[in-house]
């Protein structure tokens, strides 16, 4: 069974972070919230494993 990793897993973390921030450029708070929600749903589907998603939710709540 797959598990969540909290170890570094992105080859270029600065690039990924920049892309995330850039996606919100010029958006209102509401538009940003909506974008984040769509992004989370898309990433949940990409993960495709409820166990990993539950672990991610727990890690985010710590």
């Amino acid at each position: 069974m797959a598990h969540l990793t909290l170890e570094p897993n992105l080859p270029a973390p600065d690039d990924a972070y920049e892309a995330l921030i850039a996606a919100h450029d010029g958006l209102t708070r509401e538009e940003s919230e909506a974008l984040n929600a769509r992004l989370i749903l898309i990433l949940m589907n990409q993960i495709g494993d409820l166990q990993v998603i539950r672990e991610a939710l727990a890690a985010a709540k710590r």
Binding site: E33, A34, A37, R38, I40, L41, I42, N45
Partner: protein
């Protein structure tokens, strides 16, 4: 006192008549008394009476109330109604439908197909006004009584007080001729979501209340919309936060509008105001009449236990769900189906009293499943927090172009019968390769047989064995066997064998699977039956 009706009647079916009990010196005694003449009370009474148990049904009205109310009846309800004697009437009158479409604004974002499967007597769903279902049930009661079934309905008999004792329950009733008192061994409370019996006994009803109002506008019109369930989130016609359109018999269409929490109920029920909403939806040129209107709110909650000694709760009295998913009336009929054979056997002395505790276990399991599904639908339709709303809107937005989001669109997950997985009555599965749908605890899937009959016609009296090519152990005389050659019965092979070559099923009187094996001896069969009868814990 004057005897006031709480609601107007659609059909006056059992006018008040003074009974001999009312002049008796001592309170008359009845083995089973059911309070509440709705679909669950009538189905429970009919099931018990057909099993030979004398039943008294008390209703505080003289027939069926107006309004379509519940309109979607599932296959399992129709199968149970068939056994009770009114399935064909429901199917003849009902509107069969298979497809649901869900729109956001103008765009279709999700659709589902109930996938009609061959070889069933009944379709996945029909739409039928609840008052017609209730009328068919009362007619089935009258037919059964004419053939000798021991059931009596007393109209305008209202329960005003009760005492639940260890040996019997005392019921104080009011009638147009004044009060009288009876006693009963068993009281079945089918008195609805506001259950007066629950109140009189001081029992809780815990759960969630949803802060939203929905307007029902049943309209009569000759329209050529397809017989599909159409649901809109944020509809382009702006008649509500969501809307539903669904066909009923007699050119009646159910229209539902989501109004929000802070509304002026009285103003919203004014016909002119309702017509404005309907006109926006249907367009200005469509002619229709308002047939029935109502505003409802809803809750998802249940009692902690459904059995309290000699008092047993069923239907909305025991559990309540939101209407999305058609899980209210359909689950109540399954309560009746689960309770009937158990209580009849306990009264006959065949089964121990503790078998009734399994009604609690099995139907609470089912209620929790219904509440879970209905709560999820409601959270999607009526998001309870700003963040929940943001995610709901994100799903609807994504569903237009991302297929993964479409199955998350939730306008109701339709009722399917609960599988009693983990029930104390069920023997673990011993049929490797057997289909999951007919596993122990499941309601037997129907199948048309080569002689033209249906499997479920043969099941449902007492316990029975279904044999598909297995070697039969010696069987007790009171356990009928239905043997079929799986090579000649492809539907049975598909639904009961799967990858297995042969199988033996033990089926309960409610047509649920108690146990199944690839091979079985007399000892295993006897143990499984004892377990299913509550004699082995």
């Amino acid at each position: 006192m004057t005897y006031q009706d709480r609601y107007p009647l659609a059909f006056r079916l059992y006018p008040y008549a003074r009974s001999a009990d009312q002049g008796a010196d001592q309170p008359a005694h009845h083995p089973v008394t059911i309070v509440g003449g709705g679909p669950v009370g009538m189905a429970t009474g009919l099931d018990l009476a057909l099993r030979g148990v004398p039943v008294l049904v008390l209703d505080d009205h003289e027939g069926v109330g107006q309004g379509s109310r519940a309109i979607c009846f599932a296959k399992r309800t129709l199968e149970i109604a068939h056994r009770l004697g009114c399935g064909p009437q429901m199917l003849d009158k009902g509107v069969v439908w298979n497809r649901g479409r869900v729109f956001h604004d103008r765009d279709e974002v999700f659709s589902f197909d109930l996938l009609p499967e061959d070889g069933h007597r009944y379709p996945a769903f029909i739409n039928l006004q609840q008052n017609l279902f209730e009328r068919f049930l009362v007619e089935a009661v009258n037919d059964a009584r004419a053939k000798g079934a021991p059931i009596e309905i007393r109209g305008r008999n209202r329960l005003t007080a009760m005492e639940a004792g260890a040996e019997a329950v005392t019921l104080h009733l009011d009638t147009p001729d004044g009060p009288y008192t009876i006693t009963t061994d068993w009281l079945i409370a089918c008195d609805g979501a506001k259950s007066p019996i629950r109140e009189m006994m001081g029992l809780g009803f815990e759960g969630r209340v949803f802060e939203d109002n929905f307007l029902i506008a049943d309209v009569k019109m000759t329209a050529d919309f397809p017989t599909e369930r159409w649901f809109w989130f944020e509809p382009w016609f702006k008649s509500g936060a969501s809307a539903l359109l669904h066909k009923q018999p007699d050119d009646i269409w159910r229209i539902d509008f989501q109004l929000g929490w802070d509304i002026d109920r009285k103003a919203e029920l004014e016909p002119a105001r309702i017509r404005r909403r309907v006109d926006q939806m249907l367009g200005p040129d469509v002619e229709y009449e308002l047939d029935w209107t109502s505003i409802y709110t809803f809750q998802c909650r249940r009692m902690e236990r459904f059995r309290h000694g000699r008092v047993i709760f069923a239907g909305d009295a025991a559990h309540q769900v939101s209407p999305f998913g058609a899980r209210g009336a359909n689950s109540g009929i399954q309560d009746a189906d689960n309770l009937g054979w158990k209580l009849a056997g306990v009264i006959r002395g065949d089964y121990p009293d503790t078998l009734l505790d399994s009604y609690d276990a099995e139907r609470i399991h089912a209620a929790d499943e219904n509440i879970r599904n209905s709560t999820r639908s409601t959270d999607f339709i009526t998001p309870k927090t700003p963040q929940s709303r943001v995610f709901r809107d994100a799903v609807l937005h994504l569903a237009a172009h991302a297929p993964f989001a479409r199955p998350m669109v939730n306008s109701g997950r339709l009722s399917v019968p609960a599988v009693y997985d983990g029930s104390p009555l069920v023997t673990p599965d011993a049929l490797p390769g057997g289909p999951a749908r007919s596993r122990p605890g499941a309601a037997c899937p129907d199948a048309r047989l080569s002689d033209g009959s249906h499997l479920l016609d043969h099941l449902g009296q007492g316990f029975a064995v279904l044999n598909l090519g297995a070697t039969l152990p010696p069987l007790p005389r009171d356990l009928p066997v239905f043997s079929f050659d799986p090579k000649a019965e492809p539907l049975l092979a598909e639904r009961y064998l799967g990858q297995a070559e042969r199988a033996l099923y033990l089926v309960r009187p409610d047509q649920h699977v108690a146990a199944r094996w690839a091979a079985c001896d007399a000892g295993k069969l006897a143990r499984a039956r004892a377990r299913a009868e509550g004699r082995d814990t």
